[in-house]
Symmetry: C2
């Protein structure tokens, strides 16, 4: 064991594969040396081994002993090999130990376990891959807080509570997929041109969601249409209005489920992080934003440290 070594990490989701060649440092942090992209699980007909070796072969040529850590839907029933779901609360040790490990073409692979929970609404819930973001964020803090609420916006936003450095609980909100369905397939948004994002319309959507009270998003959505029909809103602004209403509904609901959290760590691509931060701040919650790729790598580093360092 040297105090500097190399491993390969992969976030292999339904739609995308992101592979990182990483250098692990003795301080427990890692650095990305190179990045490669590939097809998601749903785009391959079971040719997972073939595909990943075509991508990592050049790296293995220089680092023949680098182990490969994979997370995400690659461990699901539609993936390469099925890794279990661990029950929350789950620590980094449990996630590392719950992995499925095997050897292919002489290389050591680990597919990380997913997580399952009964969420704060009493519903069963699942995640695969997002846990690396929380572990990575914790790993990058010099003094991690005793508890922290996270939002991981995307197709299915994961609201996650970390307590005592464990993933204590989480809830999946259908935010991103619902927005995409309404934007692309409903009567609410009919102007699909390339549009500049109108922040004022976005905040109008936020205040509409705020006014819903004990009514539901279901009762606010049609206002997107009515405002256009009555000439109160140009059709070009409907997307931003709808985005504001949906993100604010998501934030209001999460605030009611974790009422003691006054700060939220948002991990998403920049434009989406900024929208969430606007809404969180509107509701007097402090928002810290982070970049998913670099944070995820610190999560893989934490797992690497458990298993190999």
């Amino acid at each position: 064991m040297t105090n500097q070594t190399t491993f390969i990490a992969g976030d292999w989701g339904t739609s995308n594969l992101r592979l990182y060649l990483c250098e692990y440092r003795a301080n427990g942090q890692s650095q990305i040396l190179e990045t490669r992209y590939g097809p998601g699980v749903s785009q391959l007909n079971g040719d997972f081994e073939e595909k990943i070796f075509s991508l990592i072969q050049p790296w293995l040529a220089h680092h023949p002993n680098a182990p490969v850590l994979l997370s995400g839907m690659i461990g699901s029933t539609i993936g390469w090999k099925e890794a279990p779901y661990l029950t929350c609360p789950a620590s980094v040790e449990q996630i590392a130990n719950g992995r499925l490990s095997f050897t292919a073409r002489g290389t050591s692979f680990s597919i990380l376990a997913g997580l399952r929970t009964i969420n704060p609404l009493g519903n069963p819930d699942v995640m695969r891959g997002e846990e690396l973001q929380m572990l990575g964020w914790l790993n990058s803090q010099t003094t991690p807080p005793s508890e922290q609420l996270f939002a991981l916006p995307g197709t299915h936003n994961k609201w996650t509570m970390i307590r005592g450095q464990q993933v204590e609980n989480f809830l999946t909100a259908f935010t991103g997929e619902l927005f995409a369905l309404l934007k692309n397939n409903s009567i609410l948004v009919t102007n699909h041109d390339e549009l500049s994002f109108n922040h004022e319309s976005f905040m109008l959507g936020v205040s509409t969601a705020e006014r819903l009270g004990s009514a539901s998003l279901l009762h606010g959505l049609f206002s997107t249409r009515a405002k256009q029909v009555l000439g109160d809103m140009p059709s070009a602004d409907a997307q931003a209005y709808l985005s504001g209403m949906i993100i604010a509904t998501d934030v209001i609901g999460a605030r009611s489920l974790w009422p003691d959290s006054s700060s939220v760590v948002v991990i998403a691509e920049q434009a989406l992080s900024e929208r969430y931060a606007s809404v969180l701040e509107h509701f007097d919650l402090n928002a810290q934003c982070g970049d998913p790729a670099s944070i995820a790598v610190q999560g893989y580093a934490a797992i690497y440290q458990q298993l190999f360092a």
Copy 2:
């Protein structure tokens, strides 16, 4: 003026045209003599006059003086001629007088006005055509109540409050279109076979919505997926579960907006009426169901009475 006469009524919406040859009776009620169906507004390239005469010509041959009353999207910007939106509260007299009237090929046409309001959430809202259902229901009651809440489930459910025989206010819930989007285009429902409707799964969806509390539908939807992934629910039951969650969310929201209403008149096709009635009764609200076609005709009769009787 005889004490028995004939008129033609048409509910001309976006997707369908329903035409009725009606006999108006001196008691203010009407009877459907014949029904004909045609294409909706969105399916015609402006050939509205041509289309309607091809359908009503046989009726006009026997009843050359029958006036034609049309309601629905035929009076919108995508329709034949644009009728105004009247501001609520609106009485049957105001709706009758707000019509757009004209003569085509010697026949008298009236396109009824739509309604606009600021709904109980403070959002602008619109309807075109559904007002006939409330007017028809009132017209069919020997002693109409001083106020009555209505649900008109469909693509866009209209919750409507009638007070003092006026359409006082209404709110459009996005229930039907949202259910269709989630059923057909989301990851929540992947089994699209012809399925029998599982009432137990439907009621499980209802109790899931009940548990949401101050969280939103957005936070309950993903449970449809998680239950299937974890083996708690067969994929064949996901539609019924989702339907229960969405309809219950709609009912819970409406109950919060009109807390003093203990009974709801539901006007929709039978299967949908029964689902709403199940949910309303679950939440201790009394449900009365009615058939849309026969009730609408009493609405046209009320307008006919104002204009021609």
